[in-house]
Every structure is written in C-alpha cells, then in structure tokens.
C-alpha cells in the first residue's frame, strides 16, 4: 500500500494530465455532439426528404458501427484526403459524430412524441415554424431527453478511453504508461477505474439534480 501511494505521488502529474484530457474530450464531444444532434433530430422530423434521408443514413451508419472503428477511421482517413488532424482532433471528430447520431435519434423520438395538436394550435395562432420550434416543441423535447442525454454523457466518458488506442494521452493511456514503468498493474488500473466510476457517478448525481430542477411541477 505504501509503495502504491509513493508511486501514485510520482505519477501524479501524468495522471492529472490524462484526467484533464479525458474530461476535455468528453465535454467537447458532448457539447458539439449535442448541437449536431439537435440539428439532426429536427431535420429527421421536419427536414425535406433528401436531407432527411441523408441524415437517416448518417445516423444508421454511426449507430451500426463500433465506436472504436469510428475512431480508427477518423484517425486514418483524413490524412489521405489531405486533411491533417492530430490524434486528439481525430478522436474528437469520431466522438462528436458518434454523439451527434445518438442525440439525433433521441431528439427525433422526443419531437415525434409531442402531440401534433400542439403544432396545429401554434400554427393557428400565427406562429412561424422557428417560433413553434423554440417556444413549443424544443422546451418539451429537451426536458424529455434529459435522462438519456445525461446517460450519453457518461457513455462518452467511457468511450473516451478508446482514444488511447490511437495514442491520445488520456487517463487510460497515461495509466498504461505508468504501469509499463512500475508494473503495479492491478493497483493503477483499479485506480483509473475508480476515477472513471467517480466521474460517472458525479454525472449521474448532477443529472438527477438537473432533472429535479427542470421538472414540471
């Protein structure tokens, strides 16, 4: 135990750096992915046929492909078409595309579950479509996707570990490097696991608090 803590102290900077990378990747991909997902979800319900079909294809491809394949593809493909991304940027791209597809599908479900009478009522009092979207549909849709959205956030934190495969120095890769030096395999993998667990439990709690706040009373 004592050696574990002294090794932990030696490795503190590397672990901290990895932890920050993990959080950075998760936060950026959930934020941009959510914005993308909202757009996709709206298009899937209200978009013109051609765009709708394109979005449908995008969502189905992303959801049918393992995240690791997405990450490897976005790591290798951009360079051959002349786009130079760092490993971190490539990984982010994959996570954003993955997140956007999932959120898009969730938003589509939420929008379709709103009774059509509301849209008709809003149209009959003369609201334009953007107004209907911002004042009638989205507030309800966003509230109903909240639990799934929080869950997607936790899933992204877990998926960010896959960035270690393409050499992004996030928490798991840093842990692997530390283990490669001191051979305390079990201790450091468990420690990394504990950190992931704490982050995800934190997200869950924050999500519950947020749900209580926005609940319709």
């Amino acid at each position: 135990m004592e050696t574990f803590f002294s090794e932990l102290w030696i490795a503190r900077d590397a672990l901290m750096e990895g932890f920050v990378r993990t959080i950075e990747a998760s936060v950026v991909s959930i934020l941009i992915g959510t914005a993308l997902g909202l757009l996709i979800g709206i298009v899937l319900v209200y978009g013109p046929l051609v765009v709708r079909l394109l979005c449908r294809a995008y969502v189905d491809v992303m959801r049918g492909t393992p995240v690791l394949v997405l990450i490897l593809a976005s790591f290798y493909i951009p360079s051959v078409v002349g786009l130079h991304l760092s490993a971190f940027q490539a990984g982010l791209l994959a996570l954003i595309l993955f997140c956007g597809a999932h959120i898009g599908e969730i938003v589509r479900g939420a929008l379709q579950s709103i009774p059509p009478g509301q849209t008709e009522a809003a149209r009959s009092i003369g609201l334009t479509f953007p107004q209907i979207l911002t004042y009638v549909l989205l507030p309800q849709a966003l509230r109903s996707i909240l639990p799934t959205w929080i869950n997607t956030g936790a899933e992204l934190v877990k998926a960010s570990t896959l960035l270690s495969v393409i050499g992004v120095g996030e928490l798991l890769l840093k842990t692997q490097e530390i283990v490669g030096r001191n051979f305390m395999t079990l201790d450091f993998y468990l420690f990394a696991g504990l950190l992931y667990l704490l982050v995800n439990l934190g997200i869950e709690q924050a999500g519950k608090a947020l749900e209580r706040r926005v609940a319709v009373r």
Binding site: P66, Y76, I77, V80, L197, L201, E204
Partner: protein, 219 residues
C-alpha cells in the same frame, strides 16, 4: 484530394475480414451466454427477499455500468496473471465482456421480472407449486419473453463491443481491418468495408430478433 478508390486489396483480404467477423460473433455469443447466467442470478437477487442480495446486485450493476469496458478488459488481461489467474487472450476477453454484459442483463432481467403480473404467481401458488417451480415454469417464460427486445439490443451492442478485443490483439474484424489498413494503405476502402460488415451484421441480428419476437407473442 486525388484519392481514387480501389477495392482490389480489400477483396483479396476478404477472407481475413470475414473470419474476424466470425470470431467477433463468437466472442459476443460466449459473452452473452455467460452474461445471461450472471444476469439471471443478479436479476432474481435484485427483486429477491434478501436485502444483502439486493445490495450486492445493485452495487455490481452500478460499478460495472460506470466502468469503461476497455479498463475491465485490460485489468483482466494484464493484472489477473500476477495473481495466478492465467487466461489466454480470448478467455480473458470473453470473461470481461461477460461481466460487463452481466451488469446490463441484470437490469434487463430485473425489469422483466417486475413486469410479470402478480396474478400468475398467485395462481401458481394456488395450484400448489413450490416457489422454485413458480420461478422456473411461471415467472421465467413470461420474464424472458418480456425481456426479449432488451436482450436483443444488449446482444447487438455487445457484438459492437467485441471490436475492443483489437486492443489486446485478438484478431477479430477491427484488428484485421487495422492490419490491412496499415499494410495496404487502402485506408478509405478498408474502413468502409469494415464498417459495412458491422452494420450488415447488426441489421441481420436485428431482423432475426424481430422474427423471434413475432414467433413468441407477448404475454
């Protein structure tokens, strides 16, 4: 730009990709079989009379569902041998995936168990069945049928998770694709085909499950 698609190398290596796909399906089947056993035990424990059983099942689900699968895989593959538990790559991966699946399936079966109407349990008791008989002949069939859609989607997501086996060099589809990618530099083609194979397999599994659901009408 200036990249022209040429699938020749991919078709020449298609046998490797397909054997990788088969291996991935095998890993997923092994994991879901073991995971179902864990999930049934966990599911019954989480609605059972024992408070300790409920606690343990709850803790297992919370911990495993919040851990990244890659951490579990690396832990099982690299750390366990130091404690005398020697498994080869495939065994340790299937075991990791089974433990991961077990947590999701515990939740699936718990929800299935909760959905079994009380009346049928009472009816079973009224005709003199023992508690074990009620569980086996009355509750289980209804629960499994109700859990079937969730069981199916867990299997599909497990199949996609088998791609993570590439991280410990198990030659499944993702590993083979990466190898072809690095050897041939037919980057775009490789990932289009690999992704297409995953999507096609998921669609086939999903269609199979739908027909299974139709065969056994919902209770």
């Amino acid at each position: 730009m200036g990249y022209t698609l040429n699938f020749a190398v991919i078709w020449a290596n298609l046998d490797k990709l397909l054997s990788g796909l088969a291996l991935g399906l095998g890993l997923a089947l092994g994991a879901v079989a073991m995971g179902t056993v864990i999930g049934l035990i966990g599911g019954f424990a989480s609605v059972g009379p024992s408070k300790l059983g409920r606690r343990i099942a709850g803790a297992y689900v919370t911990v495993i569902r919040n851990l990244p699968i890659l951490v579990i895989v690396l832990l099982a593959y690299f750390a366990l041998p130091e404690y005398g538990i020697r498994l080869d790559k495939v065994q340790s991966f299937v075991a990791s995936l089974a433990i991961y699946a077990g947590a999701y399936l515990t939740e699936v079966f718990r929800a299935g168990l909760v959905s079994v109407p009380k009346g049928v349990v009472e009816a079973g008791r009224a005709i003199g069945l023992t508690r074990f008989q009620i569980s086996l002949y009355v509750v289980m069939p209804i629960m499994l049928r109700n859990a079937l859609p969730a069981l199916g989607s867990t299997f599909i997501s497990l199949f996609k998770d088998t791609s993570i086996a590439a991280a410990i060099a198990i030659p499944e589809l993702t590993f083979q694709a990466r190898k072809i990618n690095v050897e041939s530099f037919r980057v775009v083609e490789t990932w289009i085909v690999a992704s297409g194979l995953y999507i096609a397999t998921c669609l086939v599994i999903a269609a199979g499950l739908r027909s299974l659901e139709r065969r056994f009408p919902k209770f």
